[in-house]
Assembly symmetry: C2
Homo-oligomer: 279 residues x 2
């Protein structure tokens, strides 16, 4: 696998780097960002937190706006932020911000024209960690987190792969996409009209049926403009209650859907996985 | 003075807000951002750190990328980030990123067509603090800081107004603009060919001649791509030595000109003014 370094910035004693590589899974060139804490420069293999971003984001938003590097440097955790979809001229797209490029929804599409490139679930679960673990001084201890569409991605991926992740956390996740306008639009396009297939990508459905668990933390702003219509954290809470899932869901008074919310609580979303990594 | 609130985001228990207002000084509508720490919601008048951004920036870059709110909330300091120039359709501009809109250089232009709007020095020193202090729960205790072109702005403004600021700090300032390509281009356009008039906007010239002082901190990345040609911190260091100015200039190994550098050291650029404010 060839990989090209695009950018390199010293950050809190460690390094923020951007790379592009040819993805076999997605059948296109992909970009990702990685933060390597100072410990990774000292011959130590550090654990990795995978961060999945929300609609319209790339590999850059989280690294520039969340302020996560300070704590990652303190705790010795690498952070990997992939893009939110396949990209490029030959890749199918849609006029809406909530479908196509920038809106991969972390699913493996089965419907044309999307099934040629849109396999973000497989990419995040398999190809990306293989690439990261064979390229950088990191261990195979993984945690996963995300925001909004990426919170949905993090929860569903951890719920379906409990052996691969030590913890999962999310800000403002789309908790029940089969019942949200964003989710219905994307899942219908990528997976087709048979709604039964959508259930594999719904955190509330998966959590209700879970038999094996991953420690889970969710923060939700109470002034989030998408709360009632799109996010529906109460569905996830009910699912956790039904199956006894170890979910801590916190409602934060006054906070919205923006990176100002994420930055305010990101420290706890690094200390949370840190308690389960490096053990 | 009328002022319109554009945005409001809860951040570390306080509030990030964007406003627009009609500026008499700049003869156009201007936008600024303010971070009000939690203490400002409790009837307390908090001191203000003014942040001046660099070339191409607006009022948004610092608030989104520097990660300053966490410490401002802890210390009870408001932060005000103005735009970097007058803006709008009727405002003179240039094709270059380093002249015109986004590149006001914190000077009062004397040359046409710039002198109709470009009076960022006067705006930052006078109109903006008057507006802030009459609108928000803040005291008249001020500190000033900035990055690159904004570091030049912060240093020159503090050096010329030592009674108005308790401290000054800068990341990667254009320390001797009369001898840098960026500075020569901008000062020639805004102030004309008589280079004697440029000296009022040169931190190294001003610091060498200073008789009244403001505590000053400068951080400079040693891998900054603009270090040798544009920034010239050694000129500022020599000026401070000549006049006995209380300047601490630190060279940070491996850091570049980006916000990843600023974020890595922003905590100290809030603790530094905090030691002089609220006394």
């Amino acid at each position: 696998m060839s990989i090209e370094n695009l950018n390199c910035n010293k950050s809190f004693g460690g390094w923020h780097k951007q790379y592009s590589h040819r993805s076999e899974t997605l059948n296109c060139s992909m970009r990702f960002a990685i933060y390597l804490p100072p410990q990774a420069s000292n011959g130590q293999k550090v654990p990795v937190l995978y961060w999945l971003s929300g609609l319209t984001c790339s590999d850059e938003n989280f690294m520039q706006k969340a302020g996560a590097q300070r704590i990652a440097a303190e705790l010795g955790i690498a952070i990997v932020a992939p893009d939110t979809s396949p990209r490029g001229e030959g890749v199918a797209d849609d006029e809406g911000y909530d479908l196509g490029q920038g809106a991969g929804f972390y699913v493996d599409a089965t419907q044309a024209p999307w099934n040629r490139h849109y396999r973000m679930y497989d990419y995040v679960v398999n190809e990306l960690p293989q690439l990261i673990e064979s390229t950088f001084p990191v261990s195979d201890q993984r945690a996963i987190a995300g925001h909004s569409m990426g919170g949905h991605g993090a929860l569903t991926i951890a719920l379906r792969n409990p052996d691969r992740y030590r913890s999962v956390s999310a800000f403002s996740p789309i908790s029940n996409p089969i019942n949200s306008p964003w989710g219905k639009k994307a899942l219908a396009a990528y997976l087709g009209k048979d709604t039964h297939t959508w259930r594999d990508y719904d955190a509330s459905v998966l959590m209700r049926a879970a038999t094996q668990t991953v420690p889970a933390l969710v923060d939700q702003g109470e002034s989030d403009e998408f709360l009632a219509e799109q996010l529906k954290p109460e569905r996830l809470e009910a699912a956790a209650k039904a199956s006894g899932y170890p979910l801590e869901l916190r409602r934060q008074d006054g906070y919205d859907h923006s990176y100002y919310f994420i930055a305010s609580f990101i420290e706890e979303h690094l200390r949370f996985p840190a308690a389960y990594l490096n053990k």
